[in-house]
């Protein structure tokens, strides 16, 4: 479960990215988080991963109270999440294969498991055959799919993805959303940030819309407002 209670976040004095956000995402839900650029979507994602601390308010992620949690528990909280970052965050020095395998090594997986699982997720995102490359030798769309493979590889209980379709063509985007929906059907919680209206409308899911750091609508009807459109 992900729970925000009256969360505010100011990067600098007077510059408020989140202004009293409360939301709750139950285990097993599939949720779109939408809103115009600069509305605070990535800020919410970064607070969930513990990369940013809220200025005020309470955040609970999969049983961890982010405010009270000990520093050395942070890695274990993060292991409950599969994260697709908006800027991918791939390690260019590692091969494509090792970028995904690293996430498994971190949790202490055996090499035999890694050898079995990595090719499976590579196939899932359509990167089979590119294992020996390095991320900086790939296109934006390929890097995005690699980031997704890494988020999936440990079968996390929750997947959060910040604009995972930003670099994909419409067919690929639809394919990815379908994949995330299938993963969700197996019980994984999924939170996807996007501002692609068409995509959201094709999947009948709960949509949380935010603007200027405030939740402006939250519902199952797929309705949301786009102030900038």
């Amino acid at each position: 479960m992900i729970q925000f209670t009256d969360v505010t976040k100011s990067y600098t004095e007077g510059n408020t990215a989140l202004n009293g956000v409360s939301l709750q995402i139950e285990d097993g839900e599939f949720v779109f988080l939408v809103g115009p650029s600069g509305s605070g979507k990535s800020t919410i994602m970064k607070i969930i991963t513990g990369e940013l601390k809220p200025t005020s308010g309470q955040v609970h992620v999969n049983g961890y109270n982010l405010e009270r949690m000990r520093k050395r528990d942070i890695p274990f909280m993060r292991r409950t999440l599969g994260v697709v970052f908006q800027d991918f965050r791939l390690i260019n020095k590692m091969t494509v294969y090792d970028n995904v395998a690293y996430a498994m090594r971190v949790i202490g997986a055996r090499e035999a498991e890694i050898k079995e699982r990595v090719p499976y997720v590579m196939d899932l995102v359509g990167l089979t055959g590119k294992e020996r490359r390095h991320p900086n030798e790939m296109s934006g769309g390929e890097q995005q799919r690699l980031a997704i493979a890494r988020a999936l590889v440990n079968n996390p209980s929750t997947i959060i993805a910040d604009e995972p379709t930003g670099n994909l063509d419409p067919a690929r985007s639809f394919e990815l959303m379908t994949l995330l929906q299938e993963i969700n059907n197996l019980g994984t919680t999924v939170l996807v940030v996007t501002h692609e209206k068409e995509l959201v409308e094709r999947f009948d899911k709960r949509v949380i819309a935010i603007d200027e750091g405030v939740v402006i609508s939250d519902g199952m009807d797929g309705y949301y407002r786009y102030e900038n459109e």
Partner: protein, 295 residues
């Protein structure tokens, strides 16, 4: 950290030595330079200290035995003196020998030919273990039955003690400063080299790596770089020192400078160089990445 990945982490550590070749080269060079500077200064100070101590030990205490004592009785005084604490060496010199030495010292001057050994006293020439305790030892020697008079150069002993104390303080101070400067230089070199791994470390943290997991390969890398640096510095130090000693011996016909051979210092040098190399390698790497892990 589960040990499933021990092999992987070791391999990563060794690999990063080569994949960051320039940084490895730089840190090894800096380590070698610092170790040679600190090491050379320490050895020189050690030698200087030994030379001062040797000189100091030429300052002997002479105990004159009561003139009524026979040769045999005087020898028993000798054995009692030998038992006293801080007596390093005690040589018995009979009055006959003393006279012979005296005449010899004065170019066998005919003026002394008529001197009767009976006019002289048996004596025991004492070399102290530690001349800085000369006064207290002389007091004990005075207590020994049969010792009539003592000739001791307190000022000279004090002078030498002062020199060796000053030398000790100054060299400890300089070595400490050199060590601190070395550590700063080395840790800054490593920090600079680690800077481009800042992003990499942040990503590792984001996918749930513990600090221990991230640190391990850096420790392995630091371990090997430290050992390599220590080994090279040790070899270079040995060559430098031997060359220096050989050159000084060639010039120093009078044998004024007496250097300890490097082989005598082998064990302490190996131990301190490897300890310093490992310390700098491992803690240098860890301290350099510490602040990057706080994400």
């Amino acid at each position: 950290m589960k040990m499933n990945n021990f092999g992987y982490l070791m391999k990563e550590g060794v690999r990063s030595i080569f994949s960051h070749g320039l940084m490895s080269f730089a840190s090894v060079c800096v380590t070698v330079a610092c170790l040679i500077i600190v090491g050379s200064f320490s050895i020189l100070m050690y030698n200087l200290n030994i030379m001062v101590e040797d000189l100091n030990q030429t300052n002997e205490v002479i105990c004159y035995v009561d003139s009524v004592y026979t040769d045999a009785e005087a020898k028993s005084v000798h054995s009692r003196i030998n038992m006293i604490d801080n007596v390093f060496q005690a040589n018995y010199v009979s009055r006959e020998e003393a006279l012979k030495n005296f005449v010899a010292d004065h170019d066998n001057d005919a003026a002394f030919q008529g001197v009767d050994p009976q006019d002289l006293r048996h004596r025991i020439v004492v070399v102290l273990e530690d001349n800085s305790r000369m006064e207290e030892t002389v007091a004990l020697l005075e207590e020994v039955e049969g010792v009539a008079m003592i000739d001791a150069e307190f000022e000279l002993a004090e002078g030498f003690t002062t020199i060796s104390n000053v030398l000790g303080v100054v060299s400890t101070g300089i070595i400490a400063i050199l060590l601190i400067v070395s550590l700063l230089i080395i840790s800054n070199t490593v920090k600079l080299a680690m800077y481009d791994r800042k992003n990499e470390i942040a990503i590792m943290k984001m996918v749930g790596a513990t600090n221990g997991f991230i640190r391990f390969p850096f420790m392995v890398q630091g371990f090997f770089l430290g050992i390599i640096g220590a080994g090279l510095a040790f070899g270079a130090e040995w060559l430098l020192y031997d060359a220096l000693v050989t050159n000084i011996h060639e010039v120093d016909a009078l044998g004024l400078f007496n250097f300890v051979p490097f082989v005598d210092l082998l064990v302490p040098m190996v131990v301190t160089f490897s300890a310093a190399g490992l310390f700098v390698g491992i803690f240098g790497s860890i301290s350099a990445i510490r602040k990057f892990m706080d994400v």
